[in-house]
């Protein structure tokens, strides 16, 4: 156990958090957030700084993230923004909005035949990568000493980034019709993702989160996950200068859990639509923390009372198993009522005291 505790301490886990992860009597089930869209929208409403400026400015960006921490006192925060950072750095065009995160407009290349035109971007120069790196640096300089927070930088997963570089529809088509060129693209993108992740770690991020929703079984088959996602996620985790990563895949993922947990150096899996009991069973004795899995749509649309009940159900289902933290299944939706987020966190604090 102490080896794993040492491992967690390396990331900045407090003793309280570690006790929570191991379900020690007296400790509380921890709660973490993956949030970007919500934070940026809230910060815009609070300050009037438009979203397109927030996501291009490290100072605003880190403030928008820290704001969530101040408000809700969560233990771990990933600096998730939008999932177009890598594609934009490769040359894709985005729509920038005043109140929400940017969205893809035009992919970097129109066809797989143009792969050779793609140049691996420089994390310190291209797109918004320098902003994300600067945010990690600001966190280290300004906030790290003052808070118990664990700050995770983030990269998109290879499938998610590549599909935005080529356009999702073309990418999906290519998986079937031109797997060799898709592998070539994934290989190139993986190199860029590793450089970007390492630059964030170097700048001050405590850990790295990888957001890979497009590899879920909502989008691609478990066989394709094995062939096209697994090898590159494995390479990323091996080459990042960190002992472990959080991998977030939202959507339907039950059929890929077995593969997912085989990715070396994965220490947190952030899940969405899964059966928690089955998932924890599949993980067995391995040291992998499951983060899950209240739906962000529930948080957006239900009442605080319902949210309390759903959170209580999650807590009761997991019980004293340990290696589990409460977390929304995906990025909090902009406009999620504050009382709903509080209901979720308070339910964790109320019902999540070990032993359950």
């Amino acid at each position: 156990m102490s080896l794993i505790e040492d491992f967690l301490t390396q990331f900045g886990f407090s003793q309280e958090l570690i006790d929570g992860v191991f379900a020690k009597p007296g400790a509380t089930m921890p709660a973490i957030f993956l949030a970007g869209g919500y934070n940026v929208n809230e910060y815009y409403k609070m300050t009037g700084v438009p979203a397109y400026e927030i996501v291009r400015n490290a100072r605003h960006l880190i403030k928008s993230q820290m704001n969530l921490q101040y408000k809700f006192k969560v233990d771990l925060l990933t600096c998730l923004v939008d999932l177009n950072i890598m594609s934009e750095s490769f040359g894709a065009e985005l729509y920038y909005e005043h109140d929400v995160l940017p969205m893809p407009n035009k992919p970097a290349i129109e066809s797989l035949d143009d792969i050779d035109q793609l140049e691996i971007p420089d994390p310190h120069k291209d797109g918004r990568m320098p902003v994300i790196i600067e945010a990690a640096k600001l966190y280290k300089e300004k906030y790290k000493a003052k808070s118990s927070l664990i700050y995770g930088g983030y990269i998109e997963g290879p499938i998610t980034a590549s599909s935005n570089i080529l356009g999702v529809e073309n990418f999906m088509r290519g998986l079937v019709t031109n797997p060799d060129l898709i592998h070539k693209l994934l290989d190139k993108v993986t190199t860029a993702l590793i450089e970007f992740g390492n630059a964030q770690l170097e700048a001050g991020a405590d850990a790295i989160g990888i957001a890979e929703p497009t590899a879920s079984s909502t989008c691609i088959s478990p066989d394709f996950f094995k062939e096209f996602a697994f090898p590159y996620l494995k390479k990323i985790n091996r080459k990042l200068n960190t002992p472990g990563t959080l991998i977030h895949i939202c959507g339907h993922t039950q059929p890929i859990i077995k593969q997912w947990i085989k990715i070396p150096n994965t220490f947190i899996i952030s899940v969405d639509e899964v059966d928690l009991t089955k998932t924890l069973e599949t993980i067995g004795n391995k040291f992998i923390i499951v983060a899950g899995n209240i739906s962000p749509i529930t948080l957006l649309r239900e009442t605080p009372e319902t949210i309390e009940l759903i959170t209580k159900d999650i807590i009761n289902e997991v019980g004293n198993h340990g290696k589990f933290v409460l977390c929304p299944g995906c990025d909090l939706a902009p406009g999620t009522p504050e009382e709903n987020i509080m209901a979720f966190l308070n339910a964790g604090r109320k019902y999540g005291k070990f032993p359950i």
Partner: protein
């Protein structure tokens, strides 16, 4: 002996005719399978052969393309197919449909109904919408596709311009759900709401949300969209 020869001749002709029918049926079945397999080249070859043989094109569309796409939809529902497989099947369907379409003497009245479809303002995820549009197309609907990031006024404009029967809206994201409500309000303001049916879809939509915004139907996938619209037509809810 003479009688025998005549009888033989008749039998022979019958066999030939049977073979021809069999082969024709086989071609439609092959077209269906080309769609299911997402085999674009084969779908194109078969579609051309169907034209050359002057076969019944309506039959080819309904029992070949549309039937194939229904199987694809079912396989998607049952998690046997995923988005990549559905996209290549839709490619095969589109390729064959575009070959057949110019030969298909369609009048406006040949369509079951006119559908204006689009992804609402603020959202650019259009794979699901494209698949629904293709399913509807292959099932005999006239589809006016407004694309993605479509503002409410564009929906209104298109309903008026094309005298549409149905408005179909989709979004994959939660923040853009509001746009569906705004679109319905604008249809009301322009006096169009009672003339049309509104159908919505996309991951964050459900029956509860449908009721909340005053839409008529909410469908979870392309197959359901087709069967829902077909049921409206049968009930004569659309003129």
């Amino acid at each position: 002996m003479h009688n025998f020869i005549i009888a033989w001749d008749i039998i022979n002709k019958k066999i030939k005719r049977f073979n021809l029918v069999g082969k024709k049926m086989g071609l439609i079945e092959n077209l269906k399978n080309a769609v299911i397999d997402g085999d674009v080249d084969n779908a194109a070859r078969i579609a051309n052969e169907i034209i050359d043989r002057k076969m019944d094109l309506k039959n080819a569309i309904l029992n070949g393309l549309s039937a194939g796409m229904r199987v694809v939809g079912k396989k998607y529902e049952e998690h046997e197919y995923f988005i990549p497989e559905v996209i290549v099947s839709a490619d095969a369907l589109n390729t064959a449909f575009n070959i057949i379409k110019p030969h298909f003497k369609d009048k406006d009245t040949d369509y079951k109904a006119k559908v204006v479809i689009g992804v609402v303002k603020g959202d650019i995820h259009e794979i699901g919408k494209n698949i629904v549009a293709q399913f509807l197309n292959a099932s005999g609907y006239k589809v006016i596709d407004l694309g993605r990031n479509v503002p409410p006024e564009k929906f209104v404009e298109a309903v008026e311009k094309y005298n549409a029967d149905i408005v179909a809206m989709s979004t994959l994201m939660t923040p853009t759900l509001e746009q569906m409500k705004i679109t319905i309000e604008q249809l009301k303001e322009n006096g169009l709401r009672n003339k049309i049916k509104v159908i919505i879809g996309g991951a964050p939509t459900d029956q509860e949300f449908m009721n909340e915004i005053g839409a008529d139907y909410c469908c979870k996938d392309a197959n359901e969209a087709v069967s829902t619209l077909d049921s409206i037509i049968i009930k004569n809810e659309v003129n």
